[in-house]
């Protein structure tokens, strides 16, 4: 699994991280707040266009479809076929012995489509924003620096741990660890996870000392190496987006009260 951020020079890459977060928030709010069965699909196409603009369409789409396939299948099986909602209207035709219901299929479709938009939007923001920039933007707006640091390291640690795990797997295999047959996969967990975890824990001490030697936890303002470009246009756009989200919420509440 490659690191999440892919460097590039598209218009999306050049936007301020908070602008991207705001747009993502608007798209997500619209997915969940705007009524209508076709809304998630329409928003997915909007997000798709954005991914093409950002130049990350292919990788995002392949990841998203791989992630969503098991969920959609489960939803379809359980909500659509096995346990449809009470009082559901049956569809006029049937697939052999299986009767499908309109409400069950609708429920499964809605949740899957919303998840599609959610995943694509999140991956879009993460792929076009350098983690350090994202965290710097958040901490300069009030996120506690410790949480920001944890977020930053967590975003980058997964490929690192995966590489470690692969090395340990190959090392143990070369010592004769059986991992192909079914039952041995369970027995192989301890010889694989043990060295991984203990090795990483021993590293924790070194990391803590590295942080201390850079005075990371000392109080007071810090000077940052990275600078973010923020134009007045983007600031106005962010305020408009926030107004848009508020309007969506208000509209939804208004509709619900009717």
């Amino acid at each position: 699994m490659q690191p999440i951020y892919s460097p590039g020079d598209s218009p999306l890459h050049r936007l301020h991280p908070l602008t991207k977060l705001a747009i993502a928030g608007l798209i997500l709010a619209a997915t969940y707040l705007v009524p209508g069965a076709l809304t998630p699909l329409a928003l997915f196409f909007v997000t798709l266009i954005l991914t093409i603009v950002g130049g990350v369409a292919r990788s995002i789409l392949s990841t998203v479809f791989k992630l969503l396939l098991p969920v959609t299948l489960s939803l379809f099986l359980i909500q659509g076929i096995l346990f449809p909602p009470a009082g559901a209207t049956l569809l006029p035709w049937s697939l052999g012995p299986i009767r499908l219901t309109y409400e069950g299929l609708l429920f499964a479709y809605l949740i899957s489509a919303r998840l599609l938009v959610l995943s694509t939007t999140i991956l879009l923001v993460l792929r076009t924003t350098h983690p350090a920039d994202l965290v710097f933007a958040l901490t300069s707006r009030g996120l506690p620096r410790s949480i920001g640091y944890i977020l930053l390291v967590s975003l980058q640690i997964v490929p690192d741990m995966t590489a470690r795990a692969t090395a340990i797997l190959e090392a143990q295999r070369s010592r004769g660890l059986e991992t192909q047959r079914g039952l041995s996969k369970v027995r192989a967990i301890v010889p694989l996870l043990g060295p991984l975890v203990v090795g990483a824990l021993v590293d924790v001490e070194e990391r803590a000392m590295a942080l201390e030697s850079r005075a990371y936890t000392a109080p007071g303002p810090k000077t940052s190496l990275r600078e973010l470009v923020d134009t007045a246009g983007q600031r106005i756009a962010r305020w408009l987006v926030l107004l848009g989200i508020a309007a969506l919420i208000a509209g939804r509440v208004f509709l619900a009260l009717q």
């Binding site: 489960s74 995943s119 999140i122 977020l151 741990m161 203990v198 924790v204 001490e205 990371y216």
Partner: protein, 317 residues
């Protein structure tokens, strides 16, 4: 100059928490690809709670689920952040009690295993066995001409319901906890299954849990708490379906006639205690294999170290 040691999110915590989150995500993703009905996504949280205390365990759990969703690998994790926080909190308290430092006698692990499997079997039987009334009442209540067929729930006023549950004032009602009476009924009707469950549980406890008995017990209790917190979330936000291996369990419980909340809770009670017991056991093994010098850095483990008499030879590691 005496620099006071910062409690809370000091540099050790900052270094450990991302590692714990990575362990959580790795374990969770592995189990998701294997489609097992467990989670294994809290090993890091339990470890952080055990080493750094309840509050940092709480933060780790919440952050871990949030970041798992932010990375885009699990779209549902953020809604279960409260569950993960609770697990970290309880793991921290368990760590303070020294649960991860004290080896337990193996017969205790056997007892814990036996009791756990027995209780689990009892719980599952409650769902698939009629509680009162004659055999066929429960199945008849699920017949297609019954208006409650689609939901599979027995409601007041349904004549089958009145026969299934005996209320105070009815002839045949005896004082005392009806639940215990019904449990005794269920056990008496299938004694062999329960006996086998107890024996198998005891054998597994002795062989697998070994000396991690106290940790395993703490894990079981944490698992029950986790099931209680996660069932409403799973039922009301997702309709019980999250696309993981546990969906098969939810479907099975739905097939026995329970509604979504009860199915989600039942699935939680089947998966969570076992899963948390395993996680606590793994963390016990990890802490046992860490060099003592390293354990000194962690305040929560240190407190337990001081209260444990040194029974091992003082060899340098």
């Amino acid at each position: 100059m005496n620099t006071p040691r910062r409690s809370g999110l000091n540099s050790t915590a900052l270094a450990l928490i991302p590692l714990a989150i990575a362990i959580n995500i790795a374990g969770g993703q592995l189990v998701k690809t294997l489609r097992l009905p467990i989670y294994l996504d809290s090993i890091g949280t339990v470890l952080t709670g055990a080493l750094l205390g309840p509050w940092i365990g709480l933060i780790t759990g919440i952050l871990s689920n949030g970041i798992w969703t932010l990375i885009g690998l699990d779209q549902f994790a953020w809604s279960f952040a409260a569950v993960a926080g609770a697990i970290g909190l309880l793991a921290g308290f368990a760590g303070r009690l020294g649960v991860f430092q004290r080896p337990s006698p193996r017969w205790l692990s056997a007892i814990i295993g036996g009791v756990f499997l027995f209780a689990l079997t009892l719980f599952v039987m409650f769902f698939i066995y009629p509680l009162h009334g004659t055999p066929g009442d429960y199945e008849n209540s699920l017949a297609p001409n019954n208006p409650n067929y689609a939901t599979g729930v027995l409601v007041h006023g349904d004549p089958t319901f009145e026969k299934a549950y005996i209320f105070p004032g009815d002839p045949g009602y005896d004082e005392g906890s009806p639940l215990l009476a019904q449990a005794a009924d269920v056990i008496a009707s299938q004694p062999l299954i329960f006996l086998i469950a107890a024996i198998v549980g005891a054998a597994l406890g002795y062989a697998v849990l070994q000396n991690a008995g106290y940790a395993g017990l703490a894990g079981l209790l944490t698992g029950v708490a986790a099931a209680v917190v996660s069932a409403p979330i799973a039922a009301y936000v997702f309709g019980g379906v999250t696309g993981s291996g546990t969906d098969a369990l939810v479907a099975a419980f739905r097939a026995s006639g329970a509604n979504i909340l009860a199915s989600a809770f039942a699935q939680g009670t089947v998966s969570d205690p076992f899963d948390k017991m395993t996680s606590f056991m793994v963390v016990y093994l990890i802490i046992q294999s860490l060099p003592r010098r390293l354990l000194q850095r962690f305040p929560n483990a240190q407190a337990a170290l001081e209260s444990t008499p040194v029974t091992r030879a003082a060899t340098s590691r």
